[in-house]
């Protein structure tokens, strides 16, 4: 679903860390139930956008609106917005406390916001991520990377958010497991009309997950548009370079020729 007023709106957002201009006037919006894919390389500012949307950082200038209202300035009033935005982290090994049971991990956002939880709620959340057989009193260390990421997603769903920031949610996972997690995210979006800010360095994954794509480089969005259009008819040379660097799917299409004398797309 991609109609209606934007759920999230960033207008001319700048972020400066001392001498580093991390974001230079980023304007993007996400409608309810829509996925905006944000693709860029390391240092492009894509994770900074995620942190600003989550209210973990304040922009140096620019406007941020959620559900039509500007982000409040005080931490206390920000809580109301944070309740409606979840996060799925990159590394399911780092982002789940190994000393907490699944129950406590999934329960934590509910307790933080003073909401009722209980046995049924935890079981329901585990079921929604395909972990219905997991013991809520077990620890994350007994699970594989893919299962841990499911637990992380259950935690993100606990507050029934309208938007989830997914920051490279599958880059730490094995290739055969990535597809399962991406399918889960797609299914949850359909069931719950969730919006995603899907941040990744992988243009092919972003294309598959997104309604619209924003290509970010050096703190600037250089191209934005519907996923199929941006990837089939890229307008900006940088988008084209990213597309060209996506590895071949068969040896007959390789960029690196027999002598290895292919052109490096961008010098290191």
């Amino acid at each position: 679903m991609t109609t209606g007023d934007p759920l999230l709106q960033l207008t001319d957002v700048h972020k400066q860390y001392r001498s580093v201009r991390a974001l230079r006037g980023v304007s993007v919006e996400i409608r309810p139930g829509e996925t905006l894919g944000m693709v860029g390389e390391s240092g492009s500012g894509k994770s900074t956008v995620g942190r600003i949307v989550l209210g973990l950082e304040r922009p140096t200038s620019g406007s941020l609106r959620f559900d039509g209202r500007p982000y409040p300035r005080t931490a206390r009033s920000l809580r109301a917005i944070r309740r409606r935005i979840g996060i799925v982290f990159q590394d399911p090994y780092d982002s789940l406390d190994p000393r907490f049971t699944l129950r406590r991990i999934i329960d934590e956002p509910l307790r933080t916001h003073g909401l009722p939880s209980g046995r049924d709620r935890i079981a329901e959340l585990l079921t929604s991520v395909g972990m219905e057989n997991a013991d809520p009193d077990s620890y994350p260390t007994t699970y594989s990377g893919g299962q841990r990421q499911r637990i992380g997603i259950a935690r993100a769903l606990a507050l029934e958010p309208d938007l989830i920031v997914c920051d490279e949610p599958t880059s730490a996972l094995d290739v055969s497991v990535q597809a399962q997690i991406l399918n889960l995210l797609l299914a949850l979006q359909r069931e719950r009309n969730l919006a995603y800010l899907f941040i990744s360095h992988d243009l092919e994954v972003v294309r598959r997950m997104s309604d619209r794509i924003a290509v970010i480089r050096e703190g600037e969005v250089v191209e934005t548009g519907p996923a199929a259009e941006v990837t089939s008819a890229p307008q900006h040379p940088y988008t084209r370079a990213l597309l060209d660097a996506v590895p071949a799917t068969r040896p007959s299409e390789r960029h690196v020729d027999a002598n290895g004398s292919a052109d490096p797309v961008v010098a290191a």
């Binding site: 390389e41 094995d174 597809a179 797609l186 360095h201 598959r208 997104s210 960029h255 290191a268």
Partner: protein
Amino acid sequence: MSTVSLPEAPTASGLRVQDLHVRYGERHAVQGVSFSVAPGQTLAIVGESGCGKSSTALAVARLLPPGASIEGRALVGDLDLVDARGRTLREARGRVVAYMPQDAMAALNPVQSARRQIAEVLSFRQGASRSEAAAGAVALLAEVGINEPESVARRYPHELSGGMRQRVMLAIALAARPRVLIADEPTTALDVTVQAGILSLVRRLTRADAMALVWITHDIGVVAEIADAVAVMYGGRIVEQGPVETIFEHPEHPYTRALVHAPRQSRDALPKAPFQAIPGSPPLGEFPVGCPFHPRCEHALGPCAQTMPPMLERGPEHSAACHLLSARP
């Protein structure tokens, strides 16, 4: 520098690995792996976490941690790297076999300049004088495609980008002109545009020097880009190997088929359409009895859970280990 007591590794000898096993105590991480790589050729070993690909790489480079045990052979000419001890092993490092790690930041010395770290190899391995080694370091940086090598040579690892650090690692690995280069996911942490440059560079240099290159990766796209031959690992074993064209166009093992088809299916799919997924996750630690892939295999039959399928010849230099193939000619 005195001359070497090394069984002479002929300049173009390649690498032959035979029935390699690696154990960490009770854990049998690599269970009889055999492959060979001709000079100037690239073998990609592809697999997911826990499949034994990095243990294989570390075993051949003789960089396994203490407590790990190796069996089998890894021959470069007449020299068996598995057997090499003491001085023979010391002399073999860098000159016979070199290793390029994934995490260059962790591998480089943070308090030494790039020049010093490259020069160290040149003086230790080739007996170069101080000034020769310094000049050689700059020449190597130019060879690995670094612009302004003089200036980069003076920099410390934290002053270099990820791509440049990986180029410095490559210069160190190539400094003593090894016969075999083991590259353990050296581009995994790099941006795609930088990765493409490193892939081309490594392939070109190893070809020019008739080096045997073993490239360890989890990324089937990288395999399509650089490999001449492919070994697919799963559960501590090679489950299929062959020339790159055969592996991509006529894969026989269900796991290989899933790996090589997934990116193509993805390219053809529309945004928001479901992905083709293999259920379950790769085994960690304990490998299942029988074929290690059987719990995730949609074609699994009775014998798959009981006995490990043998490696079957499927064509020229192409073999696969799957019970389904015994039934089919």
